[in-house]
């Protein structure tokens, strides 16, 4: 079953195909459960009859006990089995949903980049997250609900006929009427509902307009005009909402009324028959109960119908939206991916946009393996389009692009990936570690999974060096924390470096560092560090728990610190919420804030409460939050509030008091900062410095990093720290990296992959001069002859040593030759380099 569907695109599958492809074992189990449930539902009715007719009437206590026992058992069984139905239904539904989400996502990822030009990410998110959920739920109930309810209806109906055919026919006669009336009313309800949605949208547009134009309204005093416009829409909305609700209640009322009519019919006819002795009293009671029980399955079927309509509409909308075909097969099925040589042959290549604008116009050139070509030209000349056609991201309409003698448009994605590597203008970096991102390009290669195919640490270091991100990664390593237990040896060596650092660089970088000094307030450390001035292994005294530690809180009280800290925390919270409250939770905005992005919401509410309440009126939880903000506050880094001088002296007093008290109450639990000890709560760099940097400015960082690197080399620790740095997490979209670092990382990952054909699309545009020339040098000396390189160049001073330079102008190659040739020709390149004469 599943295999036959594999070849069919997911967007063409019907909603019911998911029901069919769900687990048959579970579906059959579900059916069995349902049959038992239905059976268990009818038994109580029969027992009811027997209890009255046989035991009560005939005054047989033993029968009463037996029948009541069976009744109870049936109720228990039907309850348990109803729950089982829900369990199986949920499993089926959630499995189907997960499978649907997976299949649609896999499909979406293979869609051509062109598709994403007209697709909002929000749309994809809501399709996968919200819209499909209804479809998944439906798959879960697709069999269970209708089968249960139809069987129940049939069972009760059959039972009614068995009891008394005439009475049954009369009481069931209302259902055809319901079946005719309800859908008609429902259609009207739907129409009204649609209109309501439209008017509501209209209303929100109006509100939006008023809010953005509020200045204008105030300036002109046009409150009446705006009110009139608004009132008119509200009036319309009111009317349609009344109509809509009337129809809605109409549906319900009709259904209820007709359902309520049938007992009336039973009473009048059944009562007459009972009086005349044609119907036993017990049978009449059973009949009434069974008839009453018809209502629930009936209602559930109606609900199911509505749920089906809703799920079907949403499912169809999602599938239609993504109903595009991938342009290329993902992987070859009957052969391994090609290993091509690096030759490139382009013949009469043209590319048009959907709207018919020609971006490439009969471009032709050829490159032998290992040759390098720079592509230059004015912006909009088609340079990037050419790159995108070469690596199969764009599907060209005419001409040929051959790599290694094979037509690019006929290759599978995997063939291209195996042989071509690209660094794009603004490369994307995924959340994860540096190492994961470095391996990102390689990991799609087949060799990666083979025992010796994966890159070694040396390979990775080489790639980092080549791309010029080596020092950055080292720096990340220096900024990491070490777990002392796992790195006992390393810790000793770092303390060693600490001494060497002071001897060799102490004077040179003194200004840039705030050394840990027991007598001084540390402006670049947190309030907490200033009080504790030490580190501990004890979990209750750890930084995260200290603000909840009773002992510590009592100490703060004793040191007169609680109140001033709460008030500092309140000030910090108010300012951070005021400044950052409406910004997205990007790392860059929170680097200078003691409040973390995911805490902001809680602090926003807290800041609201602070406007109305005094500190002593706050709840314990709120006080805790304020204390946290204050304890993390470090005036050298968090500039939104000042450190009151009185608090500074109180904290310094507190530091001495804390040390005294801890030594007395918990001797040895805190290791106070000491130039001979490693401080696990601090980064490796801060341990080397035995202090903290005062500035995060790149120039200051560079000075310190250079000194540290020299010492690491002397101590033979460079590789160790680098390995640690490779575990740095780059943040979502790599937003903890600078633009330059992201680009370097993208270059490193393609160097590590070492593809036969390397396409660099303005790949060094975010780099500084030095890094640019280094990478240029590397291309010329290391990659020439190994990889064919096409480099879209944004600067003209780096293209001199390329084998060929292609100058593009309005989609054509205007000139092609070596740099010197073209300059001598005094044509387009000459014009680009020297400007128009």
């Amino acid at each position: 079953m599943k295999n036959s569907q594999k070849s069919q695109p997911v967007t063409e599958r019907s909603l019911f195909s998911w029901v069919r492809s769900s687990s048959w074992k579970l579906q059959i189990a579900l059916l069995l459960i349902i049959i038992v449930t239905v059976f268990a539902r009818v038994i109580p009715l029969e027992m009811q009859k027997k209890i009255i007719n046989e035991s009560i009437f005939l005054k047989k206590t033993d029968l009463l006990v037996i029948y009541c026992g069976i009744y109870l058992a049936a109720v228990l069984v039907s309850t348990v089995f109803k729950y089982l139905t829900n369990v199986v239904q949920t499993i089926l539904g959630q499995r189907a949903l997960a499978e649907m989400r997976g299949a649609v996502y896999h499909h979406i990822l293979t869609l051509p980049v062109n598709f994403y030009r007209r697709t909002q990410p929000g749309m994809v998110v809501s399709a996968l997250v919200t819209e499909l959920a209804a479809a998944g739920d439906f798959v879960g109930m697709a069999i269970a609900v209708p089968v249960t309810n139809i069987l129940t209806l049939l069972a009760f109906g059959g039972y009614l006929f068995w009891l008394h055919p005439v009475l049954a026919a009369v009481s069931l006669s209302i259902y055809p009427i319901v079946l005719i009336l309800v859908p008609r009313l429902q259609a009207r309800t739907n129409r009204a509902n649609k209109e309501r949605v439209d008017i509501t949208r209209h209303l929100s547009d109006k509100i939006g307009e008023s809010i953005s134009g509020i200045h204008e309204i105030h300036t002109n005093g046009t409150y009446t005009i705006e009110n009139r416009k608004y009132d008119a829409i509200v009036e319309k909305l009111k009317k349609i909402r009344i109509v809509w609700n009337l129809y809605r209640f109409g549906v319900k009322t009709t259904n209820n009324f007709l359902n309520a009519l049938s007992p009336f019919l039973i009473f009048i006819i059944g009562g007459y028959l009972a009086i005349n002795g044609q119907l036993a009293l017990g049978a009449l009671v059973a009949f009434l109960s069974a008839q009453e029980k018809l209502y629930d399955p009936w209602k559930e079927l109606l609900d199911f119908y509505q749920a089906y309509q809703d799920a079907a509409v949403r499912y169809r909308r999602v599938m239609e939206y993504f109903d595009a075909a991938p342009e290329h097969v993902v992987a070859p099925e009957d052969r391994p991916p090609y290993e091509l040589d690096g030759s490139i042959e382009v013949q009469d290549l043209s590319f048009y946009t959907d709207s018919g604008i020609r971006l490439l116009d009969r471009v032709s050139f050829s490159l032998a393996p290992g040759k390098h070509m720079a592509v230059v030209g004015f912006s909009g000349s088609g340079k990037s389009t050419l790159a995108l056609c070469l690596n199969q991201l764009y599907r060209y309409q005419s001409g040929q692009v051959m790599i290694g003698g094979r037509e690019v448009s006929a290759l599978t994605k995997k063939d291209v990936v195996q042989n071509v590597g690209t660094v794009s203008q603004s490369p994307f970096i995924f959340e994860g570690t540096i190492e994961e991102n470095l391996l990102y390009s390689c990991s799609a290669l087949d060799a990666f999974t083979e025992p010796e195919g994966a890159p070694t640490l040396d390979d990775m270091i080489a790639a980092l060096q080549q791309a010029g991100i080596f020092v950055d990664v080292l720096r990340f390593g220096l900024d990491m924390h070490l777990a002392q237990r796992d790195h006992a040896d390393l810790v000793d060596r770092i303390i060693h470096i600490r001494e060497a650092f002071r001897d060799q660089f102490g004077e040179h970088v003194h200004d840039l560092i705030e050394f840990f000094d027991e007598k001084a307030y540390l402006y670049h450390s947190s309030v907490l560090d200033n009080i504790v001035f030490g580190a501990t292994d004890h979990p209750e005294f750890s930084v995260a728990n200290l603000s909840r530690n009773e002992y510590f809180l009592a100490f703060l009280d004793k040191a007169d610190l609680t109140r001033p800290l709460l008030s500092l925390g309140a000030e910090v919270a108010k300012q951070v919420v005021d400044i950052l409250g409406n910004l997205p939770h990007d790392a860059i905005f929170f680097e200078q804030s003691p409040i973390l992005p995911d805490e902001l919401e809680a602090y926003t509410l807290l800041a609201e409460r602070l406007k109305r309440r005094r500190l002593h009126q706050l709840s314990d939880e709120d006080r805790q939050r304020l204390l946290d903000a204050a304890l993390r506050f470090s005036p050298g880094k968090h500039k939104m509030v000042a450190l009151p001088s009185i608090l500074e002296s109180l904290i310094l007093e507190g530091r001495a008091l804390f040390r005294e008290k801890v030594d007395e109450d918990y001797p040895g639990i805190v290791s106070f900062y000491d130039a001979a000890d490693y401080i696990p709560s601090e980064t490796i760099l801060n341990n080397i410095l035995f202090g903290k940097m005062k500035s995060q400015h790149p120039k200051a960082q560079e000075k310190i990093t250079q000194s540290a690197i020299q010492l690491l080399i002397q101590a033979d620790l460079l590789e160790t720290i680098l390995k640690i740095g490779m575990q740095f997490r780059v943040g979502s979209k790599g937003d903890r990296l600078s633009g330059g670092q992201r680009q370097k990382l993208a270059i490193a990952r393609v160097f590590l992959k070492a593809p036969k054909i390397l396409i660099m699309d303005e790949a060094t545009s975010a780099l500084d001069n030095k890094s640019q020339s280094r990478i240029q040098n590397l291309l010329e000396h290391h990659w020439k002859g190994r990889s064919t390189v096409i480099s879209i160049a944004h600067r003209l001073d780096i293209i001199k040593n390329y084998d060929y330079v292609a100058v593009m102008k309005s989609g054509k190659i205007g000139e092609l030759g070596s740099y010197d040739e073209l300059i001598q020709k005094k044509g387009l390149l000459y014009e680009l380099v020297h400007g128009r004469a």
């Binding site: 402006y523 400044i579 910004l583 509030v641 000042a642 450190l643 001069n769």
Partner: protein, 175 residues
Amino acid sequence: MNSSMEEHEPFHSCEYKENLEILRETYLFSKLPLEALKVFAYLCTKEIFRAGDFLFHQGEEDGEALIILSGTARLIRDNGQGEYTFRDYSAPDFIGALSLLGKSRRLFSLKAVTDTSCLVLDREKFSRALQQFPATVPDVLQALTERIHAWEEKLLAQHADPAREGKAVVGISLV
């Protein structure tokens, strides 16, 4: 530790509020609404450069704008044959609006003559913050346009006959 360092530490005054005042008086920011201004003031950092240090180097692409708070910094350029000095900057000069808007290499170096403190904002922070207030982009561009225009106007006024002295030089406002 020398005296200018002590000036800036300890942190008993609120730097953010000071920054806000300074930005309000700086042409590129003065017209911005308070909401945006607050974010910029918060993102700025105060940096201290020792006499002899470079605030930036010729050819560098540091992407930073600076407002001098104290001290003096000298603008110099090395044209291959020698070093030329152009002018000195001191508080409250603002340098580098263009660095905030787009990538460019420094055509000059700026060297601290005395210990110099300044407010620094880099392009990454500036542009990410600006994206949050798209409505302010025209104000920023307008401020810059006026500045460039005024500069050239002054230049033209100072040189009575620009045709003779600097025909090739004028016209920056026509970019």
